[in-house]
Symmetry: C2
Subunit: 349 residues, 2 copies
DNA sequence: CTGAAAGCGCTAACAA
DNA sequence: TTGTTAGCGCTTTCAG
């Protein structure tokens, strides 16, 4: 059995209250007594039972983060930022993967609330129906939406990258390099972040004098989805022109993929079609996952400050602990920036 | 204030004990009464306070995993396996990143024990001094070492990939392809897993008739470390032979990096030196992180079943919950296998 | 089948 | 400065 406060109180011939005070607040107790208790605690290897403490204080010193899949390097980087910030503040982090399952997401949220976590970071993309939304809103623990557009769920704090501006930057970059025939490799329409990037990109092209509307190809927002979709597209084009052997050139000279995973898949498809990046096609992505810099060619992309986003979300969350639900939601938009690497080249005019 | 068992007991005009029984064990209570209570619970949105329950049962239904850095895709995959298994068993997972800091590692372990987690998975590589080892051994919660050789810490259950055999496989593969001049890109000597791979590799080459001892280059076990070390080596060779422009060929025709991150860094260094993989140098790695298959060329590597390792570790851990400390440690060695992709080629004899 | 009562280990008024 | 007294919300004997 573990040694309890009572044990150390008995050993020192004081009351548990005195022992508790010595170990915690520390003031309102004679220095000598306090020392005696501290010594006994160390000697007996006393480990306070935080769960008992939690029961009375109502706080667990635990935060939770719900993500889609921690194997996604984007989430991993977010999570690391979250965890470091939590650690510094003296909190632990419980991690929940729920993929796209809103069932699993709700299951977690229930468990977390039952465990009285002090706050929840919601990064997963699983949609919630209105019953679930309602349930969330009654949550005692503060919730911040991290990289998850509110989507009907008003009233929560949010931390988001400036996706629109990132898309714009991508458009500017490609157009500035002289590209006119451009492919937009877009994701599912119902993803708010991806949609914002798309919009920003389109606007940037429109704003450019003579900016023609790009081709739009929609795919799953992962490598395989992008690779598959683009491969099919390139193949179909070759067929149509009866160029079974020769790869199609000239349909577009640049491509924007709304995230790096898609950019990676697209790059593969391009090489597999016998074309070259950036000689035949320039590629620009979005996210700047660590891996992007290690590709051949290193990927030009829009960087979002994932680690800092995690940190910022924890700061907001902690500011809301103990506050009434729905207390002054904060909205933080994080800056993005272009990272020029080698997958884009300028077109000679 | 949250609704408690007492509230629902009052609403149903029964005792809290009856309410508790109805909500849990469910037997020993009249069906009609039980139903009434269940209904009330739903109606009042009752959420049991698990921390109160934990105080009496002594279980928290929480597991913890201590890793180096979740951004490392290897850990992420392990973690996902762990989390899925925990989820299925009705547990939550707290995730702790401690890099190489044994301070942070110990800090976590203390917190976790104070929070009465039901078990701890140790994957981090931070070394523990003997005082820390002693402390660990007195832990009430079971501990399993996941991908972490016991290194003096006997008595714990372990889950490890068959690193030795993986190294052997790599050696066999290269030798079987006809390579004779081989470079071993090794990691720090004090890493047990990496050292086992190294040993296996060396043995395989020795076992081959005419297998010459490979060159050994030691580097940090990450991409940049490997890239740097290999670049320097290639450069120095070029200098020595007064071939500033022409890249050095022929010193070795194949290379084994003891993990994929290193293989990736090495591949970069090779291309940056103007050489080609696999034409000039074949490369084989270890781990089979997801990314390996998306490289150009896709990396040949030794696959370890990371996800399954995570799952296996949880199974063992759960088997030990509630058992006395040091109870029948289990040791599980997971099989590895060769994944042949395009970074290795056969040498014509 | 159900109620009463004790207690998990700790904190926090309130007294002394 | 210290001890006493109540709980926190739940489970779990033990009676009834």
């Amino acid at each position: 059995m573990a040694v309890t406060l009572k044990d150390i109180a008995r050993a020192c011939e004081v009351d548990v209250a005195t022992a508790s005070r010595s170990l915690n607040g520390a003031y309102g107790v004679r220095a000598e007594t306090r020392q005696r208790i501290l010594d006994a605690a160390r000697r007996l290897q006393y480990r306070p039972n935080r769960i008992a403490r939690g029961l009375v204080t109502g706080r667990s010193r635990t935060l939770a983060m719900v993500v889609g899949d921690i194997r996604n390097p984007f989430y991993a980087e977010l999570a690391r930022g979250v965890e470091d910030a939590a650690y510094r503040a003296g909190y632990e982090l419980v991690l929940c993967n729920c993929d796209l399952s809103s069932d699993r997401q709700m299951h977690y949220i229930h468990s977390l609330l039952e465990k009285r976590v002090d706050g929840i970071l919601l990064s997963a993309v699983a949609r919630l129906n209105s019953a679930e939304q309602l349930e969330l809103s009654r949550s005692d623990a503060p919730i911040v939406l991290l990289n998850r557009p509110p989507g009907g769920a008003r009233g929560y704090s949010t931390v988001l990258a400036d996706n629109y501006r990132g898309g714009w930057l991508a458009g500017e970059t490609l157009a500035g390099l002289g590209h006119r025939k451009i492919l937009l490799l877009a994701g599912p329409r119902d993803n708010g972040n991806l949609a914002a990037r798309e919009t920003g990109f389109l606007k940037a092209l429109q704003a450019r004098s003579g900016g023609a509307a790009p081709l739009i190809l929609r795919a799953q927002h992962n490598s395989e989805g992008a690779r598959h979709a683009l491969a099919e597209y390139l193949h179909a084009r070759a067929q149509r022109r009866r160029l079974p052997a020769a790869p199609p050139r000239g349909a577009f000279t640049a491509l924007f993929a709304v995230n790096d995973a898609m950019a990676i898949g697209a790059t593969r498809a391009i090489f597999e079609a016998g074309l070259n990046v950036p000689l035949d096609i320039s590629v620009i992505g979005f996210d700047d996952i660590e891996f992007s810099g290690m590709l051949r060619p290193p990927l030009t992309t829009i960087h979002q400050p994932k680690y800092e986003m995690g940190r910022a979300a924890v700061e907001i969350l902690l500011r809301h602990v103990g506050k009434p639900a729905g207390w002054m939601p904060e909205h933080r938009t994080m800056e993005v920036r272009l990272v020029m690497r080698e997958s884009c080249r300028a077109l000679r005019a």
